[in-house]
């Protein structure tokens, strides 16, 4: 007779319904007895039941629910409503006052002018860096891009959050 198979192999074959381990177990008293032990143990385990929770559990939970802050979704809607109201009030004030509108236009033009100068400076700096240390910069960018892609891949591949942070 072949030697007794590893127990995990035997039970994997039992799930599959066939395999050399099962053929062996059909002829081996030790394996058959062990499997019978498992069968009886399963029977006993299936008879176990969850305990009844304390009668006060539901009452306590509902009391805490009544005290707890409003769920976040409602807070989000409230925040959004406040934001939209503020935005509407601001825009209303702007369009109802020529002076305020003029100040806003001047400020906006100034911001656009400054940001254009900032972007041009940024590009010229990047160009200078590239012309002096092109290889090092390319390697650095490649590492950043690859590590970001790897991170994204892991993020996409991971199971959805199970509220571990909840």
């Amino acid at each position: 007779m072949s030697p007794c198979p590893d127990l995990e192999v035997l039970f994997a074959e039992l799930e599959a319904g066939e395999g050399p381990g099962l053929d062996h177990a059909a002829e081996c008293e030790a394996c058959a007895a062990m499997m019978e032990d498992h069968r009886l143990l399963e029977q006993d385990l299936f008879r176990l039941a969850d305990p009844l929770p304390p009668p006060s559990l539901v009452v306590n939970v509902m009391a805490r629910v009544a005290e707890s802050p409003v769920p976040q979704r409602r807070e989000v809607w409230t925040g959004l409503a406040i934001l939209l109201t503020s935005l509407g009030a601001g825009l209303g004030f702007l369009f109802s006052s020529d002076q305020a509108l003029g100040r806003f236009g001047t400020g906006f033009a100034s911001t656009v002018g400054n940001s254009r100068a900032f972007v041009e400076g940024l590009f010229s700096g990047a160009h200078a860096l590239w012309s002096t240390a092109g290889v090092a910069v390319a390697c650095f960018i490649a590492v950043v891009v690859l590590s970001s892609l790897f991170g994204l891949k892991r993020l996409v591949g991971s199971p959805p959050p199970s509220l571990s942070e909840a």
Binding site: C4, L7, E8, F11, A12, L14, E15, G17, L22, A25, A26, E27, E29, A30, A32, A33, M34, M35, E36, D37, H38, R39, L41, E42, D44, L45, F46, R47, L48, A49, D50, P51, L52, P53, P54, L57, V58, N60, V61, M62, R64, V65, A66, S68, P69, P71, Q72, R73, R74, P159, P160, S162, L163, S164, A166
Partner: protein, 206 residues
Amino acid sequence: MNALALDSLPMAIGMLMAEDAAPLPWKADVQAARKGDPSAFESLVRSVQRPVYGLALRLLQNDSEAAEVAQEALLRAYQNLHRYDDARPFDLWVLAITRNLCLDLLRRRTKVRTEELEPMKEVLPSHEASQLDGAIAREERLSLEAAMETLSVDDREVLALYYVQKRTTKEIAQIMGCAPGTIMARLFRAREKLRKKMTPAEEETR
């Protein structure tokens, strides 16, 4: 030759692995609870309180801590109801929260309070057929419960979810956040450890 186990065990396993195409009885209550209906949430609490408390008790082995964790888990479920995916069974979601809270608490524990384990045995019930058989069944159950208590949290967890709560391997995988294919192996290992605890003399035979 004793080939009895070869025929019956796969049937039991296969039966439990079959996926139930269950409806979504909690969906209406969840939607109502999200709109602020407390009675709808109370209905949800009532439907899941027993498995939630049961899992907490199996993992923590302390009834007062289990009750506290069950309360906390249900409260967090309420507070995070907007994050719950309706397509997923509500009970599994709450059980996953309960499990995480239990594991957090276990990590924080500095020592096992063994003196509190004894009363727990009296709390855990079973499906006793009659009072006549009750005494023997109760003794067997207590020895099984006692053996289970000596197992690791991981082993207790998988045994409780599969055998006590009658969850499928896929459901257990959802609760534990692991691949369904690993559950049967974990279950087998846990059961084998339990078998050795129950029948230590037979360990030498293999």
